[in-house]
């Protein structure tokens, strides 16, 4: 073959795709195809897993022009990475869209639900410790822990700063496990609660309706408090609340609709395929990625345990009992976690409707996960000094 190439140098140019092909490329095509299959066949976060899967295939064609890093000939996925992820722009834009979709009314009506959401961030820190024990360096361990925020954009935001090489697997783990909430949470909740606890009914005593003015001032309030406590979180929480104020102000309906639809769709599309583009075989086919996938599941389990155990602890000190299952909704996987838990309550007792409480905790999870992300962002550099 070498003699042939020496005789006909142009063959090298024509056959470079074949000549550069290895089993690793083919393995990555299979992984990309699995992600696409899960998205199409099982509806697992299709808006992200489908572009990620396709991006992974594009990135693993030998000498792919999509991921070329030759100066002056940069591939479009490299350009998108530099322009949207390396500088943290895409996650921030996604947060504007999420904020415009969020309704914080249940949270304002019953702010105590935020404590469950805080407890449900336990998985982040427990997983970070586990990852460090497995040999990951601290910055990487903390970035792996962030999968427990159950919040794709926060995971990408933290990873793009402290674990660029792991961005692909971290994003895939975050979005995959978010879509697996109906599979992960119910057995964990059942294992740590009794049937009687799962049947606890919750009322709405003392919960007043929320005024438009309170809804309008809420995002400003949260940004100011979070910003002062952890200035590094302003980009995340600020964009989330900016999106929300577009919605609740009621005067920029077009902007709010654009954020919820066009912006969300466009950025999600670019974000997905760009993350897929980072999943090259040499970065993805490693033992570390297998650990990341395992630790992602651990993070979701510990989140669930943290939220439920906190609710059970609260029940020991209060007269009015709460259904401890709602503690599991404190993760950011909205509204899936709230729906899953409400369905579980109905399964235990068909007259037990806890959906509003569950969704309230789930909305609080959106805020708490961003606060947790901000704290991790602040603590990584502080602890690595």
């Amino acid at each position: 073959m070498e003699a042939l190439l020496a005789q006909y140098p142009w063959l090298d140019e024509l056959l470079m795709g074949f000549l550069g092909l290895s089993w690793k490329h083919i393995a990555m095509w299979v992984i990309g195809a699995i992600l696409i299959y899960l998205a199409v066949e099982y509806d697992y976060e299709p808006i992200l897993l489908l572009p990620i899967g396709f991006g992974a295939i594009l990135a693993n064609i030998p000498h792919s022009s999509a991921v070329s890093t030759h100066p002056g000939e940069e591939g479009f996925l490299v350009v998108l990475y530099q322009g949207g992820i390396a500088n943290e722009l895409f996650p921030v834009l996604i947060f504007i869209a999420i904020g415009a979709m969020c309704d914080f009314t249940p949270l304002i009506r019953r702010p105590s639900v935020m404590f469950f959401a805080a407890a449900a961030q336990f998985g982040i820190f427990a997983t970070a410790v586990g990852a460090a024990a497995l040999g990951f360096k601290f910055e990487h361990a903390a970035s792996i822990g962030i999968i427990g925020a159950a919040d794709g954009p926060t995971t990408i935001y933290v990873a793009s700063r402290y674990a660029q090489d792991m961005l692909g697997p971290l994003a895939v783990a975050a979005y995959s496990y978010m879509s697996l909430v109906p599979v992960i949470q119910p057995p964990v909740v059942r294992a740590i609660t009794t049937a009687n606890e799962r049947k606890i009914k919750m009322g709405f005593l003392g919960e007043e309706p929320v005024s438009d003015r309170a809804k309008f001032l809420f995002p400003l309030l949260i940004v100011l408090i979070a910003g002062i406590v952890a200035p590094i979180s302003v980009a995340l929480i600020g964009s989330l609340m900016f999106g929300n104020i577009l919605k609740v102000s009621g005067v920029v309906e077009n902007l709010s609709n654009t954020a919820q639809n066009e912006l969300a769709n466009l950025v999600t599309l670019l974000l997905g395929i760009t993350i897929g583009g980072t999943m090259t075989a040499e970065k993805f086919l490693t033992i570390d990625v297998a650990f990341i996938m395992g630790l992602g599941a651990v993070a979701f389990v510990f989140d669930t345990v943290g939220g439920v155990m906190f609710a059970k602890l609260g029940n020991m000190f209060t007269k009015t009992k709460i259904n401890p299952m709602i503690g599991a909704c404190g993760i950011s996987a909205f509204p899936m976690s709230g729906r899953v838990i409400a369905k579980m309550a109905l399964k235990e007792d068909p007259t037990n409707f806890i959906i509003q409480h569950a969704i309230g905790v789930n909305v609080a999870g959106q805020v708490a996960s961003v606060v947790a992300g901000g704290l991790v962002l602040a603590l990584i550099p502080a602890l690595t000094k």
Partner: protein
Amino acid sequence: MESAVTKALKMMAIALPTMFFVIAIFYVATKALHKAFPAPVEDEEEEEEEDEE
């Protein structure tokens, strides 16, 4: 030189209480906001109508 595990444990020890502290501030501020700007009677009726729908 601290190990990664020590740093991760330290992060947990600092971040979790801070998290609850921040959430406690959110809680107090949100309660105060809700109390300072109660829903007018019309809003209540609207919400009830929405609920019925």
